[in-house]
């Protein structure tokens, strides 16, 4: 059974390493600042007792007043998982550092989030649309797409 790590435990551990980066935590998730996402991800991957070596998925959610990007992380070594969340404000030019250098698996998923949700990832080598075509108007999964 994959253990869902307690958000509190992971959050406190992260807070110890990055004092300003962690904003809050819930049952199984930790909410962090968008700027420090790459450092936190690298820490989660490289710390032996966490060893989050597998990026299950990256999701963008549009809460209209803000965007949320959700990272589902799994450790194949310890068979446990944690959810990382970060909130982005604004509607245009929303950007977040790319974690492609931490997990290569972020490649296509970040492109998908950019294409459908309009959240850009800085540092991604090939930040192009993937499921829709270049020149597609807007980002279809936004709640206000085509007037909502």
């Amino acid at each position: 059974m994959t253990t869902q790590l307690q958000g509190e435990a992971v959050g406190q551990q992260l807070q110890g390493a990055f004092p300003d980066a962690v904003t809050s935590w819930g049952d199984g998730d930790v909410r962090v600042q968008p700027d420090s996402i790459v450092d936190i991800c690298r820490y989660l991957r490289d710390t032996p007792d966490l060893a989050m070596d597998y990026l299950s998925s990256i999701t963008g959610v549009d809460y209209v007043e803000s965007f949320e990007v959700v990272y589902h992380l799994t450790s194949l070594t310890h068979n446990h998982s944690v959810v990382l969340k970060t909130t982005l404000y604004g509607r245009d030019d929303v950007e977040l550092p790319s974690v492609i250098n931490v997990w290569k698996g972020a490649d296509l998923q970040e492109r998908e989030v950019w294409d459908l949700m309009g959240i850009g990832f800085t540092g991604h080598p090939n930040m192009k649309r993937i499921l829709t075509w270049e020149g597609f108007p807007g980002h279809p999964l936004r709640k206000d797409h085509l007037g909502g």
């Binding site: 059974m1 994959t2 070596d53 597998y54 990026l55 299950s56 998925s57 999701t59 959610v61 549009d62 959700v70 589902h72 194949l76 068979n79 959810v83 997990w103 290569k104 698996g105 972020a106 490649d107 296509l108 998923q109 998908e112 459908l116 649309r129 993937i130 499921l131 829709t132 075509w133 279809p140 999964l141 797409h145």
Partner: protein, 367 residues
């Protein structure tokens, strides 16, 4: 003396005999050797995630059929599990067994298709493909018996499954179980040690263990690279925890291993089906769930081991009758992450072998 030469760029797809759907790869070739590739997605994009925001939780089941249309049952299962997690629904034990049973039959059907098309890509003129389809047909007949549809089954619902299998289903299933190992053995004798198959696939399209994990590859492709990771064992859902089965794990991570892992998984799936038939208890097949229900605000992520890999649904509820956001973690899509690394330096003839050995389904890649 080196003769001056220039590379040529060719377009494979979107409508190409062996792209398993509408997928396009722009390949730069130096003679026959692949120098660079650029995969181009999206020809089958139907906006499933957006559509899901406009459907009730029950209606979305029909959308999931059309993701990986070769393994609809497993898609149903992943989706209803996420819904149940979100809404806190109970599932009767008999329904859980029926889910596992149909999902494993579906896995066999899907793997048969994957193997068949892989051999078709090797140029085997359709004979192995037709053999695989002959067996798959019998499984689809069972599905027709159980829910009236063969491919887009929509058999599962939040809280259970739609229908009790008819009485004639069980004898038909037992007959299938007694005959199937014989069919698979026949297929194995035909192809597993075929000199040309081995020469074409051994060592071709290597996916090293580290790259596989780093690129979030999942399913048989990950196991062929030597990682014993199967969500049915690592994170047992429904009644998989009670099932006795083994995980085939490859050692080289080449096309042959990926192909062989699928062949061996068919045997294991049949084992699970047999155990389901023995253990299945009597009882209701669905808990009382209203047609419209409102899960409490929050989010839930549920994943299953689909035939192509880890299929996950991430649902966000705002308390309404439809999900606020429905994200699909599509294994076929993410399995293509390492495609470039796997293809560079191989010949154009190997491209189709490697791509075929990944066994992706375009309905799921483009969603």
């Amino acid at each position: 003396m080196a003769l001056p030469s220039e590379s040529i760029t060719i377009n494979l797809g979107p409508q190409h005999p062996s792209t398993h759907g509408v997928f396009r790869i722009r390949v730069t070739l130096d003679g026959e050797v692949i120098q660079d590739i650029e995969p181009i997605f999206g020809y089958l994009h139907r906006g499933t995630e957006k559509l899901a925001e406009e459907r009730t939780y029950t209606q979305i089941v029909t959308l999931t059929d059309r993701l990986d249309y070769t393994s609809s049952m497993i898609n149903n299962q992943a989706y209803v599990m996420a819904t149940e997690k979100l809404a806190g629904l109970e599932v009767p034990e008999r329904a859980q067994y029926l889910r596992v049973l149909t999902a494993e039959l579906q896995r066999v059907a899907s793997h048969l298709m994957g193997i068949g098309f892989f051999l078709q890509d090797l140029g085997a003129m359709g004979t192995p493909l037709m053999y695989c389809f002959r067996e798959r047909e019998r499984i689809l007949d069972l599905f027709e018996m159980i829910c009236g549809a063969r491919v887009t089954v929509s058999y599962m619902r939040p809280g259970g499954v739609t229908q009790e299998p008819p009485p004639e289903f069980w004898p038909a299933l037992k007959e299938l179980l007694s005959e199937f190992p014989h069919y698979i053995d026949e297929l194995e004798r035909l192809i597993l040690e075929n000199e040309i198959v081995v020469a074409r696939t051994k060592g071709v399209g290597l996916l090293p263990r580290e790259l596989a994990i780093d690129s979030s590859i999942s399913g048989p492709n990950l196991r062929a690279s030597g990682v014993a990771w199967d969500l049915r064992k690592a994170d047992p859902y429904d009644v998989y925890g009670r099932m006795d089965f083994d995980i085939p794990v490859g050692s080289n991570g080449d096309s042959y291993d990926r192909f062989l892992v699928r062949v061996m998984e068919i045997h294991q799936s049949l084992r699970i089906v047999e155990q389901c038939v023995q253990q299945i208890p009597d009882g209701p097949i669905r808990s009382e769930v209203p047609y419209f229900f409102r899960p409490p605000p929050g989010d839930a992520y549920a994943h299953v081991e689909a035939s192509k890999g880890e299929l996950g649904f991430y649902l966000v509820s705002d308390g309404g009758i439809a999900p606020y956001r429905c994200k699909i973690r599509a294994p076929s899509f993410i399995n293509l992450t390492a495609l470039t690394e796997m293809l560079l330096g191989w010949k154009v003839a190997d491209l189709m072998v490697i791509f075929g050995s990944l066994d992706v389904n375009m309905g799921e890649v483009d969603r």
